[in-house]
């Protein structure tokens, strides 16, 4: 076994402090000429997490992933993988990661098992029997054992995704970097993928996964971050991200028995209320505040003598939120 002795390690790990995070990105910037693809991204992912990176197309996800996988040198910034400085000790960093790129390419001239066996051999996973056992294990992991002898070019999009995922799992990487792994998968396969990723995380591996579909990641990940136009907009658990993105925003509808216009005036005077309109018996308005503030508003409405027949709340979905964020950021 050969281990590099000149590993440049994360200063956190070098001392007696807490263990180094699985992924530690500091002030990462990626420029393509004058275009800034990733702008000052700083992010930490603890070991054993399924961490999601979400953002619309062109947010900088793939550039971030290419830097993380050492396939591209950043304009500046640092990346530590399991404590190893990825650009000072590329060889060690590459052994730590398993990478599944977007669109998951496969060679057209190999069969599924040949493709996997080639990678198993390249990663030095023992002799032929051991390699083939591991290939079988990984194929079973992605529920593709029955496609073992099929040509890679004959696979459907979803099957190709799963074969590449199997390839990524072969050498039991400590950090898995998966770019849009769920694209092209049917709901059943997505459920299986979720299950596989959680199982991997339970064994201590860290999974960094991207998608432009937020609901998909919300189901899959223990925490996530949102990027747009190269910048990090929010990160944390799903609820934390919602809060950071301003998802306290909600639309409320108060249905009154009478005095609608007066109720409208009263509500308009409240600082958290905006965009109010009256439709028949209903007063519909936007409200920006937390649950506590909303309860106070209802209380105030009733105390002011308005007879409330119904009160309805509609929160914007995570997807709407992302669209809104993307739209906001698109404006000059």
């Amino acid at each position: 076994m050969r281990v590099s002795h000149n590993r440049m390690t994360n200063p956190i790990q070098a001392g007696n402090g807490p263990p180094a995070p699985a992924i530690d990105i500091r002030y990462l910037r990626v420029d393509y000429g004058d275009f800034v693809a990733v702008d000052e991204l700083t992010l930490t992912v603890p070991a054993g997490e399924v961490f999601g990176l979400v953002g619309p197309n062109g947010a900088g996800k793939t550039s971030t992933f290419r830097v993380l996988t050492t396939l591209m040198e950043p304009t500046y910034g640092e990346v530590f993988l399991d404590g190893v400085d990825a650009f000072e000790d590329i060889e060690s960093a590459r052994r730590i990661i398993g990478y599944m790129p977007d669109l998951a390419p496969v060679p057209t001239d190999l069969k599924v098992w040949e493709f996997l066996d080639f990678h198993a051999a390249a990663y030095g996973l023992g002799h032929r029997k051991q390699r083939l056992d591991r290939v079988a294990e990984c194929l079973a992991e992605v529920a593709l054992s029955d496609q073992r002898d099929k040509w890679c070019k004959e696979l459907s999009r979803g099957q190709t995704q799963r074969v590449v995922l199997a390839k990524t799992l072969l050498h039991r990487p400590r950090v898995l970097i998966l770019d849009e792994p769920a694209s092209g998968l049917d709901p059943l396969a997505r459920r299986d993928l979720r299950h596989t990723l959680r199982k991997l995380a339970a064994t201590g591996a860290t999974v960094f996964v991207s998608s432009h579909i937020l609901s998909e990641l919300a189901e899959m990940c223990s925490s996530l971050c949102v990027m747009n136009r190269g910048r990090l907009l929010a990160s944390g658990t799903v609820d934390q991200v919602r809060e950071q993105l301003g998802s306290t925003e909600r639309v409320l509808t108060a249905t009154l028995l009478a005095r609608h216009a007066e109720a409208g005036e009263w509500l308009s005077a409240q600082p958290a209320v905006h965009e109010l309109r009256i439709a028949g018996q209903q007063v519909i308005f936007g409200f920006k505040g937390n649950d506590e503030a909303q309860a106070d508003l209802m209380d105030g409405l009733i105390r002011s003598g308005f007879r409330l027949r119904a009160f309805e709340e509609k929160r914007s979905s995570f997807e709407d939120l992302l669209v809104e964020v993307a739209e906001t950021n698109r404006r000059p």
Binding site: R29, A121, L125
Partner: protein, 561 residues
């Protein structure tokens, strides 16, 4: 997780990339058809020449020998053309399909990856080559061809195949489009066999050793039927061995030696690309060493051929024809050869400058990396460091090589009374520095696209316009001479035409060319000097901006800690 053991580059059979291609390219169905086709063609060749031999009452030995060369041509097509195209196309396909990223991440040394691709991609072509060998062996045995004839020949066939496959691999690694990679690699091999050997006839003898031609010619007497072989042998007595300064080598040894140097350079290029895809093809020191090495080879092959007269085109083109006893080279040949040497040297400097000069983006990254590591300067040999001084060294070395070549020709026994004064070296150095440094500084400061446009409008268009103008009327030749002189590429030819006492320019150009040369050289030196000063200032400003910047991540980090 246990860290896997890297694969040894020398255990080819255990190389996963090699085995992967053995698996995909040696599938029975497609391989069977290819092998069957090869056996049929090789069998047809041997059968046909044998039957023709019997019909024309040749001896069995002569009849068998007749088949060796057609078989060699077939093997050449398979290994050199199909093999090279497969290597270039296969490499580009890896990138096209996107699977190359997987290969970048697998824990194999760059050399192991290079060798895996080099022998794996054309594995079917090797198999096709090997099935023709029994036919060759039969022809050699029946033809009683000596071991000393066929062994060097086949050694050079294999070394040439390796060289061309490396050419394909480099092309496939660098060129992004699969179709272009295929065309360029085939074009390069075609050039190696057509254009490059012709350069040998203008004094640049070394280039012919990059092909199989010299060894093939050396082996011909032993391969042809006896009567034809004897005739060839007589002709070949004129130039029996490869000369290198005062040393004599067999053509085969020198060919392998010359190809070996280029193969080594290709290996370095590919390993650099595999280690880091954004690396320059060659390091600065290696490029400079490679350039000086080429200069030594050019001089080493050319100088010994001056005295016997074999270097001169009028002799080289009539090698197969009986040379008149009172033959002497024309002075114009010597001037042209000097000019061509200068142009080739300048172009080589430009190519290497393109390879080792960092783009503005590359420089920025280098400075940022230096700052991250707490350095205030860039390592001199780093890709991001300036290539200026290395190009200066190359330009000076090129000027010296050019001067030695020119002096050896002009002061040879063929042109008594003519001398090349030392001041000519100064002019040659100015030409090389103006052209080489001008291009390099522009490239480093402005990037490749800008230089590409400049090269077209300053390097090529004036030559084309001047040539057209000059052919319209003799009266326009002076104007055409001034126009052509704008291009730095024409300066070496103008220098030879102006500075050598042998030069006898046509009447219409006799006044214009020297004046144009001095004027445009002066302008080119001034521009190159100004560009160098500007580049210096730009680099200083870039370094200052980055090393003192407070607004970016690394500075934040420093502040924080």
């Amino acid at each position: 997780m246990s860290l896997p053991i890297p694969h040894s580059p020398w255990k080819l059979w255990g190389n996963p990339i090699f085995r992967r291609y053995c698996r995909s390219r040696l599938r029975l169905r497609s391989l069977g058809v290819a092998l069957l086709l090869m056996v049929l063609i090789a069998g047809f060749i041997v059968g046909l020449v044998s039957s023709i031999g019997v019909r024309s009452h040749q001896s069995p030995m002569d009849a068998a020998r007749t088949g060796v060369i057609p078989l060699l041509v077939l093997q050449g097509i398979v290994l050199f053309v199909l093999g090279t195209a497969q290597v270039a196309g296969g490499m580009t396909a890896e990138r096209d399909e996107g699977v190359i990223d997987y290969q970048r991440l697998i824990p194999m040394t760059p050399l192991a990856k290079v060798l895996g691709y080099l022998f794996g991609l054309p594995i079917r072509e090797y198999a096709m080559f090997f099935v023709t060998l029994p036919f060759t062996a039969w022809s050699l045995w029946r033809g009683e061809v000596a071991l000393s004839v066929w062994l060097p020949l086949y050694a050079v066939v294999l070394s040439s195949a390796l060289l061309y496959h490396f050419t394909g691999l480099v092309t496939g690694t660098v060129v992004r489009n699969r179709r272009w990679a295929f065309l360029i690699s085939i074009g390069l091999v075609f050039c190696l066999y057509t254009v490059i050997p012709q350069m040998a006839k203008f004094g640049l003898v070394f280039f012919k050793y990059l092909t199989i031609t010299p060894v093939f010619e050396e082996s011909l007497p032993g391969l042809l039927p006896k009567s034809a072989g004897a005739l060839m042998q007589t002709v070949q007595r004129l130039a029996p061995t490869a000369k290198f300064f005062n040393l004599d080598f067999s053509e085969a040894v020198f060919t392998v030696f010359s190809q070996g140097g280029l193969i080594l350079t290709f290996i370095i290029m590919l390993c650099r690309k595999w280690r880091w895809s954004e690396s320059h093809l060659l390091g600065k020191l290696w490029a400079t060493g490679f350039f000086i090495w080429i200069q030594i080879l050019l001089l080493g092959n050319a100088l010994p051929l001056i005295d016997p007269g074999n270097l001169f085109p009028s002799r080289a083109f009539s090698r197969m024809v009986q040379v008149l006893p009172d033959w002497a080279p024309n002075p114009a040949e010597a001037v042209a050869m000097s000019g061509i040497y200068g142009v080739v040297t300048l172009l080589l400097i430009c190519v290497l400058a393109f390879i080792i000069t960092p783009s503005p983006d590359h420089q920025l990254r280098g400075w940022r990396r230096a700052r991250k590591q707490g350095e205030t300067t860039l390592p001199r040999r780093a890709d991001a460091a300036t290539a200026f001084w290395f190009v200066v060294v190359m330009a000076l070395a090129g000027a010296v090589g050019w001067f030695l070549f020119t002096r050896a020709i002009v002061e040879s026994r063929w042109f008594p009374g003519h001398l090349v004064p030392l001041r000519v070296l100064g002019f040659f150095a100015a030409v090389m520095l103006a052209g080489g440094v001008g291009l390099q500084t522009l490239l480093e400061a402005k990037g490749a696209r800008f230089v590409g446009m400049t090269a077209i409008f300053v390097g090529v268009v004036p030559i084309m316009a001047g040539t057209v103008l000059g052919t319209i009327s003799n009266r326009l030749i002076p104007l055409a001479s001034w126009l052509v002189g704008i291009s730095p590429v024409s300066l070496p030819v103008y220098a030879s035409g102006t500075l050598l006492s042998l030069a006898e320019l046509p009447e219409q150009a006799a006044r214009a060319v020297p004046r144009a040369f001095h004027f445009w050289l002066f302008v080119a030196v001034l521009v190159a000097g100004w560009l160098a000063v500007r580049l210096w200032a730009v680099r200083q400003a870039m370094a200052r901006t980055i090393l003192t910047a407070r607004a970016d991540g690394a500075s934040h980090q420093r502040d924080r800690s």
